[in-house]
């Protein structure tokens, strides 16, 4: 088991011939992900790298290949329509890598997706990986190794840093999920925590948050009230000034809300051990695993 994806996941890549889409489609194929289709309007009938059939629409791709998940590498102005299209085609998991989607567009697409029973991961996220089984998105597969730790994070490269430490110390991962750095995201910390709690392969969870919003605080309350598995954490942005967007659209301290200090306190109050440095997470995970 793993969460959200496994070796049976059949993936369609929306925007498979673009610069990012083609590069990462190859990386995913190499990793062993079952990339069954690509979608590029106007390029239906072609084949990507002599291996993956391309369709004009997601609906055709689903009908022909039985795709269950999609990944979106489409420029921001068109990405939200790609999400609607995937939801309409019956895709269950829509991984949205694109950075820069207008926030109000996300408010509109989310209820639409939910009504159709689909899940959006992202936007502005690195995707997810179940080591040895499947990866969707842009996470570098070679830094991961299978094992008992679930990782959930708002960040990309900071997550790689943490996974790198875990793998380097012989601690493998069940699934690593990047939920994205935007203010409105489709899959929350809590969604991932629930999935990890239910996954028999996951024995402990690493939760990596950052400044902005109150998702970490809500996640901490959830951990306290609903999780039996140990959770350890890290929060980035202790030195970030208020009122400034730190790269991610969602990484901004508004007034006095969303500081690293309040999130760290919420973690501690809920029994989540907090690492002061990314490197210290490994020790905390080892303690949690007992």
């Amino acid at each position: 088991m793993s969460v959200f994806i496994d070796e049976s996941t059949r993936l369609v890549v929306q925007g498979i011939t673009g610069r990012d889409g083609s590069f990462h489609a190859r990386q995913m194929l190499e990793y062993g992900t079952r990339v069954v289709a690509g979608v590029v309007p106007g390029k239906g009938g072609q084949t990507f790298d002599d291996a993956v059939p391309i369709f004009h629409t997601v609906a055709e791709a689903v009908a022909e290949t039985g795709a269950t998940a999609s990944v979106i590498y489409v420029p921001p102005a068109f990405a939200v329509d790609a999400v609607y299209e995937a939801a309409d085609a019956g895709i269950e998991l829509i991984v949205t890598i694109t950075e820069g989607i207008p926030v109000l567009d996300m408010t509109r697409v989310m209820p639409y997706v939910q009504e159709r029973g689909a899940r959006v991961l992202g936007p502005n996220c690195p995707g997810l990986i179940s080591p040895g089984k499947s990866k969707i998105g842009i996470l570098p597969g070679q830094i991961c190794t299978p094992g008992p730790v679930g990782v959930v994070s708002r960040s990309g490269t900071l997550t790689y840093e943490v996974i790198h430490h875990l793998t380097g110390d012989g601690v493998g991962q069940s699934t690593c999920v990047g939920i994205g750095g935007d203010p409105i995201i489709g899959t929350s910390f809590i969604d991932c925590l629930e999935a990890f709690e239910a996954d028999p392969e996951t024995e402990a969870v690493v939760m990596i948050g950052e400044i902005g919003g109150t998702d970490e605080q809500e996640a901490a309350r959830h951990v306290e009230s609903a999780m039996t598995k140990p959770v350890v954490g890290f929060i980035a942005g202790q030195t970030a000034p208020p009122g400034r967007r730190m790269g991610h659209a969602g990484a901004i301290i508004s007034g006095s809300e969303g500081t690293a200090a309040e999130k760290i306190e919420a973690f501690r109050e809920s029994g989540i051990a907090v690492a002061r440095r990314p490197a210290d997470l490994v020790g905390l995970v080892r303690e949690a695993l007992g």
């Binding site: 990012d20 590069f23 990462h24 921001p76 102005a77 820069g100 989607i101 207008p102 926030v103 109000l104 567009d105 996300m106 408010t107 509109r108 989310m110 209820p111 842009i138 996470l139 570098p140 830094i143 994070s153 708002r154 960040s155 990309g156 490269t157 900071l158 997550t159 790689y160 840093e161 790198h164 750095g181 203010p183 409105i184 950052e210 400044i211 919003g213 109150t214 998702d215 890290f234 980035a236 942005g237 202790q238 030195t239 970030a240 000034p241 400034r244 967007r245 730190m246 790269g247 991610h248 659209a249 990484a251 007034g255 006095s256 809300e257 690293a260 002061r276 440095r277 990314p278 490197a279």
Partner: protein, 385 residues
Amino acid sequence: MKVHEYQAREIFRDHGLPVPLDRVAATPEEAEAAARELGGAVVVKAQVLVGGRGKAGGVKLAADPEEARRKATDILGMDIKGITVERVLVAPAVDIASEAYAGIVIDRASRRPVMMVSAAGGVDIEEVARSTPEKIQRVGIDPRYGLLNHQATALGFALFDDLKLVRQAADLFRRLHAAFLDVDASLAEINPLVVSEDGELLAIDAKLNLDDNALFRHPDLEKLRDPSDEDPAETEAREKGLSYVKLDGNIGCIVNGAGLAMATMDLIKYYGAEPANFLDIGGSSNPEKVVNAMRIVLSDPNVEAILFNIFGGITRCDDVANGIVEALGRLEVDVPIVIRLTGTNEEEALRILEGVGLPATKSMDDVVQRAIEMADRKAAPETAR
């Protein structure tokens, strides 16, 4: 992106909100003429993109055009939280019977806009939210249906007893919501929303923040950007596709990824020093980006060492290494550079850097400690070499 009050007032007025007419002045003479044109007493307000201008003395009443000129003389050129006032807004003074608050923000948890009103207006609404949250009424707006009439009316009743005012307020809330959607705002606020002695509902202040992600479909609004709101280096970074925020420390950082960049800053602090900046070079890593990043970080005179922290994924370490080599050839680099590279094509990158005598480490903790050491040595040159 923040826009000035006078710009927000115009946008609100275009959406039929009751914002009194006003004029913008860049000189005391213009302020005097504006007051004469508007007639009667006026208020002279500093136009700066930071809060707390009232407390800083940036908002003054003037009984006549002559006094408006004197107040404008006081306010223009004033320093408010590090920003020099270059323009004032001149608007008719209103005899205020009561002050309320109305605003819309994006609520991240419920993934929708939320309208908030409070009868405790005219003050810092965040303070109200902290100390007396029960004084704020909130209603979530379903993005599929917009602000419903009954919701707007209920918010009106939260502020007023008089039915005429309730109806006027409900209409105002719908217009504020329409403006919010039209410009892709992340925040739209009227504080205070006042009832005048004549019983008129008026928006006498306006605040609007726009969603940076949506500016591509509002080229007209992009033009409202005030370059003085940003450090010039931040403007250059934005134009070059980099995220840069200047800070006060002496350790310059160049990192790929926002989370890792913040964690790097935090680690500098952990080891007892202060970061000079946040800088995310983003996902793709052509060498030119690295040259630009170096130039921007070097433009900060406080920087005494530069550290690179690159975790290669989409970013290829050899691209970054080539960028560093190129930057060293093109820029005058008078501070030590320490480099951490790991991930995609790291071996190739280490070879490139060794070729020019730049050692690199694979550990984030190492690179941060070495950067601090180098900066300390540079600050105390007698112990160097």
